[in-house]
């Protein structure tokens, strides 16, 4: 019964994409209320960009995601290398602890981080957000890079050394290029996680540094404004672009 399987598939895709399509379509709706179509308009985009606080929150979020992803990729890659390359005491415990961070409920992490920052007397703002985001991104980066290293031919570094490369040159010219796809995948994962995090950020952000997800959240609490649709559409376009970029880089590295 091919028609049955086809219509089932159609239904699944419909459920997945109808909300997104509605969001995109209504972002161009001239009407004030979200229930009827009042003609095509870009007024919500205009009002979005005129909303200074919103634009600022967007930049803040982008900067935070960028730095958090980069820092966690650097630390995570080194951690993965250490776990892969060396045998040391407490290696298993370290490995397990990564999973604990990954699996524990976000709210637990949020509360404990807030407690820690208060204890240290750290002013809540960009730094506390960055530290928190690096914390929850780290295990994902480590696991992504570890997966790549598992398939890594141990003879490659030896071949490089044999041909006259120092340990540092080998790392630069062989190890990093070979695990590059994993580094990028880890970075993108971190970027996305940081970009749309609400729970942890709610706890550890302060009034000095407002980020996008929290801004949106407070906006919709007082009623769904069409501006949010416009913002959602922009975010959608942005993440699609990121996805295409990563696919393009991956396909190029495979050639």
């Amino acid at each position: 019964m091919p028609w049955l399987s086809r219509s089932y598939l159609a239904l699944v895709y419909l459920l997945l994409y109808v909300p997104i399509v509605v969001l995109v379509v209504f972002s161009f709706n001239d009407s004030r209320t979200g229930y009827n179509w009042g003609g095509f308009s870009l007024r919500w985009y205009e009002s979005l960009f005129n909303n200074h606080a919103m634009v600022q929150a967007m930049w803040n979020s982008l900067w935070l995601a960028l730095t958090a992803a980069t820092v966690s990729t650097c630390i995570g890659a080194l951690t993965a290398l250490a776990l892969h390359r060396y045998r040391f005491r407490g290696k298993k415990a370290l490995n397990g602890m990564l999973f604990v961070v990954m699996m524990s409920p976000e709210i637990v992490l949020a509360i404990s981080l807030l407690g820690l920052f208060l204890l240290l007397g750290l002013k809540l703002g960009y730094v506390s957000l960055l530290l928190a985001h690096v914390t929850f991104c780290l295990p994902f980066v480590v696991i992504t890079v570890m997966a790549r290293l598992t398939g890594f031919d141990e003879r490659l570094p030896e071949a490089a050394r044999d041909l006259g490369a120092s340990d540092f040159t080998m790392t630069r010219t062989v190890l990093i290029p070979v695990i590059m796809p994993a580094l990028m995948a880890g970075w993108l994962l971190g970027f996305t996680l940081s970009m749309d995090d609400v729970v942890v950020s709610t706890f550890v952000s302060g009034p000095s540094y407002e980020i996008l997800p929290l801004r949106i959240y407070s906006m919709v609490r007082v009623g769904l404004k069409p501006e949010v649709n416009a913002l959602g559409t922009l975010l959608l376009v942005f993440s699609l672009a990121m996805l295409m970029l990563s696919q393009w880089i991956l396909s190029r590295s495979k050639q």
């Binding site: 071949a159 490089a160 050394r161 041909l163 006259g164 490369a165 290029p177």
Partner: protein, 378 residues
Amino acid sequence: MTKTLLSLSGISKQFDGKTVLDELSLKIDDGEFITLLGPSGCGKTTLLRMMAGFELPDRGTVTLSGMDITQTPPESRPLNTVFQNYALFPHMSVFDNVAYGLKMEKRPKAEIRERVEEALAMVQLEDFARRKPHQLSGGQQQRVAIARAVVKRPKMLLLDEPLSALDYKLRRTMQVELKRLQRELGITFVFVTHDQEEALSMSDRIVVLKDGYIQQLGTPREVYERPANVFTARFVGQTNFFPGRVTAIAGERISVDVFGLNRELSMPSFRVTMNQPLHVLLRPEDIRVLAPDDTEGVAGKIVERNYKGSTLDSVIELEDGSQVMASEFFDEDDPTFDYSIGERVRVSWVDGWEWLLAEEGDEPLTDEEELAADDAEH
């Protein structure tokens, strides 16, 4: 006059308390093709890695052209390695792979280009320079690995079972090609393999290794025809072990009782005493299968017959139950040649083709047990 290029002396190495190499010494001559042959776990790869600098010996020294390089890191040794699974850099083109070593030496661009092209031409891959390793076949990848290693003009090329991943036919082709390269380049080749056939056909000298000891060091012919001990005899080629006993000693001749036959043989290199048990070794191709009414030889019957094209291999069971392998060249004109299974024959050999070994305290495993142990290790 050959000159020693690399010498290992008193090398010992343990891994997790297990002795892999024990007080091993070896001198490798300049320009020779030397093979380290042995079953897996015999220490041959560890020995090669020690020459390359990937492993440090617990004790002993490695010297190259008279210079102590025991502690020298791999990147500073003028030797290059061809790895078992080629270890080509997957993100670089064939050209960049081969150029890698020269870039490390910071050679001028023009020189790099010229030498890489030369190296690729040598392995007949000049048209593949822009390809990535994964776009090449196993044999081509192998040739890139060789080009990458020889482009630096090393004093010595170390090859770690380089042909083991290739199929039989390609392996034969590569064996010939490697020999040609070695002759053309005049570089010393140290070749590691567990394939005795490969070792016999390619080497100038063979080092037979087992349990971290050198069992025998000699030319392929010496190793095959005059094995130093039971292990070497069993490991290199197929051998019939006949139980013998010394019945008379007269000057350079001794009499040995084999299956009730009294054969007069020349004195072996070791000391013999009256009634001493001996191994009388005969390769399958040394065995003569005779008609049942022949006056010579021991009686037996054919239990297996394998047509191999150029030879006809048979297994003959003697009356005491022991089995003899025989391999005869095909001769269609010989009427007595074609025996069928179950037919009675007599087994003999030409005097002087046998090889004598003393019985050893702990006899090594038979081929089958060796293979089983090998499998268990992998």
